[in-house]
Symmetry: C2
């Protein structure tokens, strides 16, 4: 796992003034990656790094030839339209580029004049998917979510016997993953009402979001060659925010015996910025589970994982209804949670995913599963917050919700903060539900 | 759906003599596509079309400039290392190239001299995946398989209530799909013995194959825009053979509530040749279900689908153990079945997959699910043939099997034949189980 170095020093400031504001998501200690271009332009997308309210255009920086050695090689790869090749280079290359960028963007840097010309305001940018996502796997790592949802789908058997032994996961759809700003029509599908003899067809009536983080694979592994838990994070590039939209009524009717399908694959939305594992190093913490729970099997267990497998990424989910948007009202918060509540670590997910020889590839995405906390109000989905649609929630403008309505925009944000370290943020992911096409 | 035309004429012969033998998989009425190069060479892979025991090298044919118009455009795309761009061009382009190839390879063709120099013997070739598979979905379309497997996993509840309403499907892993010849170590994983309190870890003890066909998407659809059942086959390029290897003991412990994961994603193997939907046109048949079964909802139903949705692809599965291979003994047949037993058609799978707005992309793969027939001996998996491992099968050389052993090679073949039409075949898909890496 990444160790602390000069790039994490909380005293560092940047010559980009907005990076020093204290409440920015993107101080010089963060340096996340995205693929961007000027909004409404026909420019080629290319890699960028967020600094304050600006983006350092990596294609422009690459053309300036300021860096040497491994950092220059890494910069060349990161300047491409999608980050897959950069991701494939591995931690040494990522780290070399991070160090070079940190030094170049630092207050007093001799490279300020050259790099200044490579900045583009985030306000003027639009984003693409940061990489081609070959395969997307969704895990189910919040025991609080699993228990609460399980109690709704299977009242007599909420948490299945395998849950505390296996990081439960399943394959999702890569083609329908979009970047923040994604809009999609309410899905149509088959559902069966609890009291109906036969299913019916129509627009989803129980449309929901899921508050997740997305984990991007960097260097891959060959088919047939498992990744051990202590080298698992060598294969992880970074983390984004992830909204795994879900059609609960379609899910309930379709999901047995082979799992969710059309209830999930109509859209999934990620934030544009990937925060690297190295940037997250200050926020590692011990990881353990209740003493009465089974301890993980050896392939899912290591001293390092216990010591620093935890990752406190604070998450929040907000809703802006169409009425709120029309009236110029800001999104209202629905819940807060944290990835520290995850029952399984990133390293455990990677080790489990590959233990049978399954190959991961650069740019593959692992969803964490809905990150609900232990308290009801920390739930990461409406299904939980409204107790299966039975307890509507009230919004400040007088509207209520059980599930999402047409025009609703869901906003997710995340950040890490603790005494002695710079607060770093993930930006946000926004997605909007359009009216069904009927 | 494709209509019959001069390319299907059973009286056609080719100037490639081996294409006229009567028992070849690849007469001039077939013309399937693959990506190939000379074996053990460092040549670039490129598209090829099978004719008898030869391959027409489409890159070489493209260089010869023999075709005009749409056929020439299609040939240029099909000559690329992977077929995705060709697949994206749609049925008119595929059909134009098929007609040009049929005329060029026909006995007496004026193009014989030019095309003769573009032939490479299949015996001298090796294959790559025919296309980049962005997403892979596995369906579950044999009601006979679903019922028999269901009775093993859920004796009290073999066929779930949704089965006859929904073409059940789930997302699989694209990265671990390999082409015929794939070898993989026996997967490791968690399993729990029926009488055990806790799971244990080790090599899979119930390794199985699944006899499927794979359906390749041609032209895609945009996110949010469903494909109606009567235009569904406009989006289908063709069909291959598909072995969806399965670790039954891992599956039993992991699959609830989100479906199979590590029990499936360690390897899946396809045949190199894709037989186009146009080549399959003579083998269409009426499609219906028992009168006592529910009739499909309107979005899964059409007059055309009822009239010609059926597709009689005869399938067989063979086993060659290591001992048989050492002694030079041919593979022995385990079972025969047909895709005509499918409870859902190709068009229904595509219409269902996209009805929620999910986007399909050129090169995406849909597995049919195990194609077991109604009789016990028509089962497409060892799980069924050995009744969950309780009734070992005897092989001609005296060996027995409940599940696959190390060194076992599984061979699948398929063909279509009926009076008045040329027999066309799929070639074969072979995969071999290696010893677990422990």
């Amino acid at each position: 796992m990444s160790t602390l170095n000069e790039t994490h020093d909380s005293a560092l400031t940047s010559w980009v003034a907005s990076a020093n504001s204290g409440d920015t998501d993107f101080p010089i200690q963060n340096l996340p990656f995205a693929s961007f271009r000027r909004r409404n332009s026909s420019e080629t997308f290319r890699g960028g790094v967020a600094i304050g309210d600006q983006i350092l255009d990596l294609a422009a920086a690459n053309n300036s030839g300021l860096f040497d050695g491994l950092a220059a090689d890494a910069l060349k790869a990161a300047a491409e339209p999608r980050l897959n090749r950069f991701m494939s280079l591995g931690a040494e290359a990522w780290s070399a580029l991070r160090l070079a960028l940190s030094r170049g963007l630092r207050s007093g840097s001799e490279q300020q004049a050259a790099l200044q010309g490579c900045l583009i305001a985030q306000a003027d940018a639009e984003y693409d998917l940061p990489c081609t996502i070959g395969d997307y796997t969704d895990f189910y790592t919040s025991v609080h979510h699993a228990t609460r949802v399980g109690s709704l789908f299977r009242p007599d058997n909420p948490l299945l016997p395998n849950y505390k032994w296996i990081p439960i996961g399943y394959h999702g759809r890569a083609s329908s993953i979009g970047v923040s700003g994604q809009q999609f029509p309410r899905p149509l599908g088959q559902t069966r009402a609890p009291d109906a003899a036969e299913p019916s067809f129509g627009p989803c009536k129980r449309l929901d979001y899921e508050l997740e983080v997305g984990i991007f694979i960097g260097a891959g592994n060959a088919l047939g060659e498992p990744v051990g838990i202590d080298s698992a994070e060598d294969h992880v590039f970074g983390i984004c925010l992830f909204n795994d939209w879900s059609a609960r009524d379609i899910q309930a009717w379709e999901y047995q015996p082979l799992g969710p399908f059309l209830s999930k694959n109509f859209a999934s939305t990620i934030s544009p910025w990937i925060v690297t594992m190295e940037a997250l190093a200050p926020y590692r913490s011990a990881f353990s589970r209740p003493a009465e729970d089974p301890q993980p099997l050896p392939y899912l267990s290591s001293e390092t994982n216990s010591r620093e497998g935890g990752l406190d990424i604070q998450l929040e989910c907000l809703l802006q209804t169409e009425q709120m948007r029309t009236r110029g009202e800001a999104p209202t918060r629905l819940s807060r949670s944290s990835f520290r509540h995850s029952y399984w670590t990133v390293a455990q997910m990677v080790a489990h995913h590959t233990v049978n020889g399954c190959n991961l590839q650069p740019g593959d995405l692992l969803g964490s599963g809905t990150q609900s906390g232990p308290e009801h109000e920390e739930a990461g989905s409406l299904l939980e917050l409204t107790v299966g649609g039975k307890q509507p929630i009230s919004l400040p403008n007088g509207e209520t919700r059980t599930f999402l309505e047409d025009g609703d925009a869901v906003v997710m944000r995340g950040f890490c903060a603790k005494p002695g370290a710079a607060r770093i943020g993930f930006g946000e992911v926004v997605g909007t539900v359009l009216t069904a096409r009927v």
